[in-house]
Amino acid sequence: MNFLVMNGIDKVDNLGVILALLGAALAALMAGIGSAIGVGKAGEAAAGVLTEDSSKFGKILVLQLLPGTQGIYGLLIAFLTMTKVGVLGGDSDLSWQKGALFLCACLPIAIVGLVSAIAQAKASVASIGVVAKKPEEFGKAMILPAMVETYAILALLISLLAVSGVSSLTL
């Protein structure tokens, strides 16, 4: 790091903002990709069930949407970071250290969002199978994918706390 600093890393214009925005972009990107894959997979399974029995649409739609929340969490963190950095209007002067911290803060929801959405989609697909055969077990079928989401929520929590914590630091 010293090497970089000596070679003038802190002289690069707006490096802090760049790093912070990279974090925000990653959060929206990766969590969004995960959710898109997840909702897509669940949608395929859902469409299969609908060909047999279209009256299950309401229940199956809920199951299809479950892996979609990670994308929203990613968006949330991205937006929060951008507001704190001041990209959306306001003063965006940021030291590179602080920018890097924002980037770190965004990583939990970016990575966990991507992986958990895909894992949750697998559980969703299986649960759609349950509803296809036993629609009365919808309550239980819904809980199984929701269990996976817990970890996305924990990651979201850490990212949230970290972003709001970093913004109150003075570096």
């Binding site: 479950l66 929203i72 949330l76 809980i143 929701a146 706390l161």
Partner: protein, 671 residues
């Protein structure tokens, strides 16, 4: 509030009153019929499979008739659960029953018409295929049936790929037949197929045919006696006639549309009789009398007995169910909690000796939902929407009514927490006042802004979780006392209460913990030490007692350790409530995003229009997604964190002998 007390009931009556009695019983709709016992020298099971077949047939006819009206008629026959089923009085029902034979005839007639239509449609499809096949042959002037004359043989057929006339004639150059004796006519040709007619002398027919076959000729066999052009005209005329017939049939069907209600009655009546057939299988009879037995909620006995005895002479015996019987479960809760019975049912109904968790759960359910959505405006939308639907469609089906009521109460809670946390469409008031009126106005929260103080919200969420979990343990306590399992009260509940409470006190006396969470109070060191001792002592208590079913001391110790390992479960349970913060913030922050996007266009007329558009679409999506999230995660917190402490379920649902009709309400209402 509770699982209803069920009694065993046994009815004995004369066989000639059977229909009357069963119908009365079905109208009461409060008794579940089960097997009386086994056959013996005196009693036989009731056997009458033909009756069931007849009913099934009626049902099929009615179903088909309604389908026909759905397909060809202008009205919809399905009943939406919003408008609900129409009530049908007993008198009207009986009036219909007299008409039964006519109704059935009409239903049969309409299904017959539909069948005729299907036949015509199929015929037309065939005719159209034939027409298609005739197109390439249209210039042919002789019919296909003309395969020979006195001296010549005629071949019609196709060769693959495109052929010139001369190429075909060349095929025969090596044969004994000279060109003069063969006439080749190309009727039409395309890239894929050449349609030809070949005429030759009869004695050469075999040879010519084999040459053609070598060139992959496939002969067209048809017994049509008209030349293709005439044949085509004939087919077209037939199609026209048949289409006329179809529209005539459809007109006839439309005339039958007025009888739709009768067909619906026929279906429901068959359904009612089918239920009766099901029940008949359970009753036993002698030559003159029959016995039917089952379960009935204690509160309903007096009324049912009275209404049955009004109908006919019947001997009724009531008794307590024996210990080993698996009694069906029916829940009874106050109106406030009733909508959540379905949620409990979706998990599992209370098993033997378990209490009904619905009422206690309902308070937490509404509060948790409200905390996760936490927006006054969203709550108001839910309340208004549900109230409107409930008032407008008074006749809606119970299941839908319960869901709407549930969301109504959830909406009230959402409003409450929205006001507490100062969220009205997020920060809509601030944004609108700043963008369009120049000065920023904020509505202050009654309590605090979670976005500004996430740590405070996190602590509150977990505190709420602790309360929820403690309530779960209290439910277990109550359940154990009810089952007179006093050992469990001490070992499985009270010891845990002590460990958990002491652990919390211990944590609150540690600097690092209180600083991290920004708490402004802390227990002193001495209190912490005392708490530590209590934790250790009660932990040893748990380790020694958790494995008390095992006699083997080693096994007992291991099981005890495993039991104590459950403390990690409590830790993760409490952490799980952090989703209250996460989801609450999620809906709040997305509101902010939407408002910000909406206000980016700026002031002025265009700004206002853009604002309204983005605002409507954005918040509609947000309320949908976040209400779904709140619903799913509220369920999870109840099922996993709360039920996990005391509830196993496994009860069997009470299924009374009643009228499960599709189109009409025949009894006083369904259960």
């Amino acid at each position: 509030m509770s699982v209803l007390n069920m009694q065993r009931i046994q009815l004995c009556a004369l066989k000639r009153n059977r229909k009357k009695l069963l119908t009365a019983l079905q109208r009461c709709g409060v008794m579940e019929v089960t097997d009386v016992g086994t056959e013996d020298s005196m009693f036989d099971f009731h056997k009458q499979p033909e009756a069931e077949n007849l009913v099934a047939e009626d049902m099929q006819i009615a179903k088909e008739a309604l389908q026909v009206i759905d397909t060809y008629g202008s009205k919809k026959t399905k009943v939406s659960s919003l408008t609900g089923r129409k009530a049908l009085t007993t008198e009207k029902y009986e009036a219909y029953e007299i008409e039964y034979n006519h109704i059935k005839e009409r239903a049969l007639r309409i299904t017959q018409l539909a069948r005729l239509i299907t036949e015509e449609v199929q015929e037309n499809r065939k005719r159209k295929a034939q027409l298609e096949a005739l197109v390439p042959w249209i210039t042919l002037t002789i019919p296909f049936s003309c395969t020979e004359t006195n001296c010549t043989a005629v071949f019609f057929g196709t060769l693959p790929n495109a052929w010139e006339k001369s190429n075909i004639e060349n095929l025969f150059s090596s044969s004994s037949a000279t060109e003069k004796n063969i006439l080749v006519e190309v009727i039409s040709s395309s890239k894929l197929m050449t349609y030809i007619m070949v005429i030759c002398l009869k004695q050469q027919a075999v040879e010519v045919h084999s040459i053609l076959r070598d060139a992959s000729f496939s002969q067209k066999i048809s017994n049509s006696k008209l030349p293709p052009r005439k044949e085509k005209e004939k087919l077209e005329e037939e199609i026209l006639i048949s289409e006329d017939k179809i529209s005539e049939y459809i007109d006839l069907i439309k005339e039958y549309e007025q009888y739709q209600e009768e067909f619906q009655f026929l279906f429901d009546d068959a359904q009612v009789r089918l239920e009766q057939c099901e029940v008949m299988k359970h009753l036993i009879e002698t030559e003159k009398v029959f016995v039917v037995s089952g379960y009935i909620p204690k509160a309903e006995i007096a009324k049912t007995v009275k209404s049955l005895q009004e109908k006919c002479d019947v001997a009724i015996e009531i008794m307590d169910p024996s210990e080993e019987e698996e009694v069906p479960i029916l829940l009874k809760n106050p109106a406030f909690s009733k909508p959540l019975e379905g949620t409990v049912k979706a998990y599992s109904l209370p098993g033997k000796g378990e209490i009904d968790p619905t009422t206690v759960m309902s308070f937490f359910y509404y509060v948790l939902f409200g905390l996760m959505l936490a927006d006054a405006a969203y709550g108001a939308i839910m309340v208004l929407g549900c109230t409107f639907a409930l008032l407008k469609y008074k006749n809606m089906e119970n299941s839908l009514k319960n869901s709407l009521k549930m969301f109504l109460y959830c909406g009230v809670s959402t409003m409450f927490w929205g006001v507490m946390f100062g969220s009205y469409f997020g920060d809509m008031v601030d944004v609108v006042s700043e963008t369009f009126f120049g000065s920023r106005i904020s509505i202050p929260p009654l309590w605090f802004f979670p976005v500004n103080e996430p740590m405070k919200m996190l602590v509150f969420s977990m505190l709420f979780g602790v309360v929820h979990i403690y309530t779960g343990l209290a439910m277990k306590l109550y359940q154990c006392i009810k089952q007179k399992d006093y050992k469990s009260v001490l070992y499985d509940v009270i010891l845990w209460y002590i460990v958990l409470t002491a652990s919390i006190v211990l944590l609150l006396s540690v600097d690092v913990f209180t600083k991290t969470f920004g708490l402004n109070f802390q227990f002193s060191k001495q209190v912490g030490d005392i708490a530590l001792v209590i934790v250790l002592v009660s932990s040893i208590g748990i380790i020694l007692t958790a494995g008390r079913e095992s006699r083997n001391p080693v096994k007992r110790l291991l099981k005890g350790l495993y039991g104590f390992y459950g403390i990690t479960g409590y830790l993760s349970d409490v952490l799980s409530y952090s989703r209250l913060l996460a989801l609450g913030l999620a809906s709040g922050v997305i509101c902010t995003v939407i408002n910000k996007m909406a206000s980016m266009v700026g002031g002025g007329i265009i700004g206002v229009i853009a604002f309204i558009l983005i605002f409507l679409v954005g918040h509609a999506i947000n309320i949908g997604i976040n209400a779904l999230g709140a619903y799913v995660h509220t369920n999870r917190l109840q099922y996993v964190e709360f039920f996990g402490k005391f509830y196993n379920g496994g009860g069997r649902e009470f299924r009374p002998f009643t009228m499960r009709t599709k189109y009409y309400k025949l009894d006083k209402g369904e259960r």
